[in-house]
């Protein structure tokens, strides 16, 4: 009984010995090319969309606007800087920070 079963198992295990190799179905290359065109072509389409004149001009306009905004902000910044320095000067004058006499005055005052 066991012998029969073992023989059967060996027969099953040997069933792939000497089998022929499976061949690819016909026209595989045509199907492969079609799939590649579908999968790879969209990348090219995306790139060409980026290079379209309308997109390029819009991108250029955005860059010009950003530059103009930065330049204008820079001018305002300069104005702010001058008003800031005025404030600092008035503060320094008030507390006599840059005034050498102020130190002397303070020293004399201690005396």
């Amino acid at each position: 009984m066991d012998n029969n079963r073992n023989n059967k198992i060996e027969e099953i295990l040997g069933s792939l010995d000497g089998c022929h190799k499976a061949s690819m179905p016909d026209f595989f290359y045509t199907r492969l090319k079609a799939r590649m065109e579908n999968e790879i072509a969209p990348v090219a389409t995306k790139r060409s969309w980026v290079l379209r004149p309308a997109f390029a001009l819009t991108a250029l306009a955005v860059v010009v606007v950003i530059n103009a905004a930065v330049i204008l902000k820079g001018d305002t910044g300069k104005q702010n800087t001058s008003s800031d320095s005025e404030t600092m000067q008035s503060l320094a004058a008030e507390y006599r920070i840059n005034d050498n006499n102020a130190i002397l005055f303070d020293v004399n005052q201690d005396k």
Binding site: R5, K8, I9, E11, I12, L13, S15, L16, D17, C19, H20, K21, A22, S23, M24, P25, F28, Y29, R31, L32, R35, M36, E39
Partner: protein
């Protein structure tokens, strides 16, 4: 066209070189994939993915191994990936059925008949393929490459990036496991 010329042609994006590659290796890739996924349509899908990957990543191929070794490696990896995604879909389907979302019943995959098997061996081969499907991935790969593609242990070790003794051990364990599975089936 020798292998170096072929690789150079592929790197240059030559279509004749790519066609030559497909014509030369399509049967080997298909036969390897069909042994693992056990379905002709899925095996063709895997083969398409293999050649697309080769087309895209030929610049990364360093030429340290043979082109055929690289192709076998991609084919086995892709085929095993497909099995994994099939398993996770099956699990998801089971969960859906469990929670009452999916009304469709789950069907068992029918017995696989390899096209290269003669009529008198078809029944036994179908049982063996059913058992092969239950093997761990590395044993399944080694067994399929050896039995269906007639690769030597040396060639299998190069495909699997391992040593020859490791392949011998994989084959020994694969046969032991297959015997156990078949014993259960025949009880």
């Amino acid at each position: 066209m020798n292998e170096l010329e072929l690789i150079q042609g592929l790197r240059n994006g030559d279509e004749p070189a790519f066609k030559f590659l497909v014509d030369t290796y399509q049967d080997r890739v298909f036969n390897t994939a069909i042994g693992i996924v056990q379905n002709a349509e899925d095996a063709e899908d895997v083969a398409q993915e293999v050649f697309i990957q080769v087309y895209r990543s030929i610049h990364n191929f360093k030429g340290e191994s043979k082109l055929s070794t690289w192709l076998y490696r991609i084919a086995t990896t892709r085929a095993l990936d497909l099995l994994r995604s099939r398993k996770s879909k099956k699990r998801f389907g089971f969960m859906q059925r469990l929670f009452g979302d999916g009304n469709e019943p789950l069907h068992e995959i029918p017995d696989f008949n390899h096209p290269g098997i003669t009529m008198d061996r078809k029944e036994n081969a179908a049982k063996l393929f059913k058992a092969i499907a239950q093997l761990p991935d590395n044993q399944k790969t080694a067994f399929t490459l050896h039995k269906l593609e007639d690769l030597s242990y040396q060639e299998i070790s190069e495909v699997m990036k391992t040593s020859v003794p490791a392949v011998e051990s994989l084959m020994h364990r694969a046969k032991q496991n297959l015997r156990k599975i078949l014993e259960k089936e025949t009880d």
